[in-house]
Symmetry: C2
Subunit: 335 residues, 2 copies
DNA sequence: TTGTAGGCGTTATCAT
DNA sequence: ATGATAACGCCTACAA
């Protein structure tokens, strides 16, 4: 129940000046070994630890990275966040986290709060609604401040910041190549993020592939309303001969997965499934779902590397856009 | 790239003293409307926002709650964290989050960092390894500080703090009653958390039930090594006539679920499954898994309520131990 | 109605 | 070798 002890109190108790205490604790060569020892011992005894807030003020550095994420229940974001935290820790940074729950208003709020000098840098993935309403003013507002910002995953031309993301085009094409190779000629693209940048890009890649391969029938099913998308999927798989499905996000992939299970279809023989899910997703699944590995560990790590760099070097106007190569991880759902 | 503007600069630019600026911005009645207006307009123009770090130092309050969680990839913790954040926000608190990845050392580190005046209160769920090694000194160390601490989920006699948790005994018994009612006479208890307080308590409740109902065969399978536990489950379900399985945590439940799928067993006819999973878990599953609802939303909310209370009222020595009643949510896996 | 001084906990600079 | 002072940005008595 005791308040944390301060340098001043140590000084008072020891009958020395507080600058002597400060210097002793920082091992200054100006102070005699004897005094240093005395001070250090007493400080240890009293459990002294420097107040980080005071240090932050003094150094105008918080050693904190702000992280804004749409949805922590989404295992992709959970995995990225985990790795951001791990990596930030290794640089001596803490993270303060805000979840927007895919809402624009919460994103604006979060950005506003974090721009009050609370963090040295910001790692953000914009919300669904931000894209839907095409509102980016709150991002532009922070561009004029000296807080470096990095966007991950959902990069967009409207967001002129450093970024880390995966190669949407390549990843879709390689998945489709694989499915084509295996004989799929009727392929469903399922998306629960029709408005989000990556959702759009993945759809474009899909459409390009279909255009380039006219013998393939491409069916695009999109809705950010889960029950609606599920109904669409059920109907298509029931009434058409669908060889394969490709989910561009976790939601749509797990819906596709459920639909297959509900209809009692057989993965290896009747229908294939590939999705933008991850290892964690598969820990809870059987059979395992084939997925496009976006390497969330890498995303988290690179995001931290880049933001720490910007924090230290200072905000330059050159934009650094990192793109991660995905790989296809084939499981029992797609052979 | 401009540094954030300060009160001093506004004062200089406007040719008034900085206390006039401060008072104007805080709408003090001491200042004339005219001056206030002038100051406010200029502040708005320059995008002034008070530096939170300075405010924290001044008020010796950080408006931040520290959260220490074993594993963000665990959807139970993800859900609790989400609700902690939502609720903290509503009180005007931010959260700074540390993940221990079930490691004692990381927990010690996190606790140490957060006790340097960075947070006004702390919400913690101890790691697996903490229980395994029975090391609680780092918790005792923080008891002597004036930072209120609240433990959720994994409460333990060694942790003398406020707490929020579910009723382990009741929840296990009601699940077993249900299964018994449905005719199960051979029941497996699966646990991936044999060392953790809640794992132990749930096992004890199970054993009590078996003792009270000698006609029921109870089989306890425990291991914190997933492949090992899976092997045990596979073997038992293959070789014995098991009517039902009860998972005391997400890992064990999803392993049990996988085993059923692997063996091609039928849920409604051959085997039942109930686990400590949650709604989110089922969003990715088909068929849905019956679960003991621990109400992570409530846990998050009550945790914040209690810690904010302690922060405001001050740390009393009366311990407040909140216990949440679970409910059984029956799905297609257990009819 | 406005301005001055002190303090939150530190460190760094400049005396003594 | 030690101590006093200023500064980080802010707020709030208290003076003027």
């Amino acid at each position: 129940m005791n308040k944390p002890i301060t340098i001043k109190e140590i000084a008072r108790d020891l009958g020395v000046s507080f600058s002597t205490v400060s210097k002793s604790l920082n091992d200054s060569s100006e102070i005699s070994e004897k005094t240093k020892k005395k001070v250090k011992e007493y400080a240890a005894l009293r459990g002294y630890t420097p107040n980080q807030i005071a240090l932050s003020l003094k150094n105008s550095a918080t050693y904190t990275i702000g992280v804004i994420i749409p949805d922590i229940q989404n295992s992709f974001f959970a995995s990225v966040l985990k790795n951001i935290e791990i990596h930030a820790k290794s640089y001596g940074y803490r993270i303060v986290t805000f979840f927007t729950n895919e809402k624009l208003k919460e994103e604006e709020e979060s950005l506003k709060i974090l721009s009050k000098g609370l963090v040295d840098g910001l790692i953000v993935c914009p919300s669904d609604e931000t894209f839907k309403k095409k509102k980016f003013d709150h991002f532009n507002a922070i561009k004029n401040m000296n807080t470096p910002v990095l966007v991950f995953d959902r990069v967009d031309e409207n967001l002129e910041f450093d970024s880390v993301s995966v190669d949407d085009y390549k990843s879709i094409i390689s998945a489709l190549d694989y499915l084509y190779e295996k004989g799929a000629r009727s392929i469903v693209l399922a998306s629960a993020i029709p408005d989000v940048s990556v959702g759009k890009k993945r759809k474009e890649a899909f459409e390009k592939f279909i255009k380039d391969n006219p013998e393939v029938e491409g069916i695009v099913l999109e809705s950010d309303d889960n029950p609606v998308l599920q109904k669409m999927l059920l109907e298509v798989v029931e009434t058409k001969k669908v060889d394969a499905m490709l989910g561009v996000d976790i939601e749509s992939t797990s819906l596709a997965n459920s639909v297959v299970a509900m209809l009692g279809k057989n993965y290896k023989e009747e229908i294939s499934l590939i999705g933008y899910v991850n290892k964690q997703f598969n820990r809870l699944q059987y059979p395992r779902v084939s997925y496009i590995n976006q390497y969330p560990e890498k995303i988290g790590q690179i995001a931290v590397d880049m933001i720490v760099d910007k924090i230290k070097i200072g905000n330059s106007n050159l934009l650094n856009k990192e793109v991660i190569e995905t790989t296809l991880s084939i499981k029992d759902t797609s052979l």
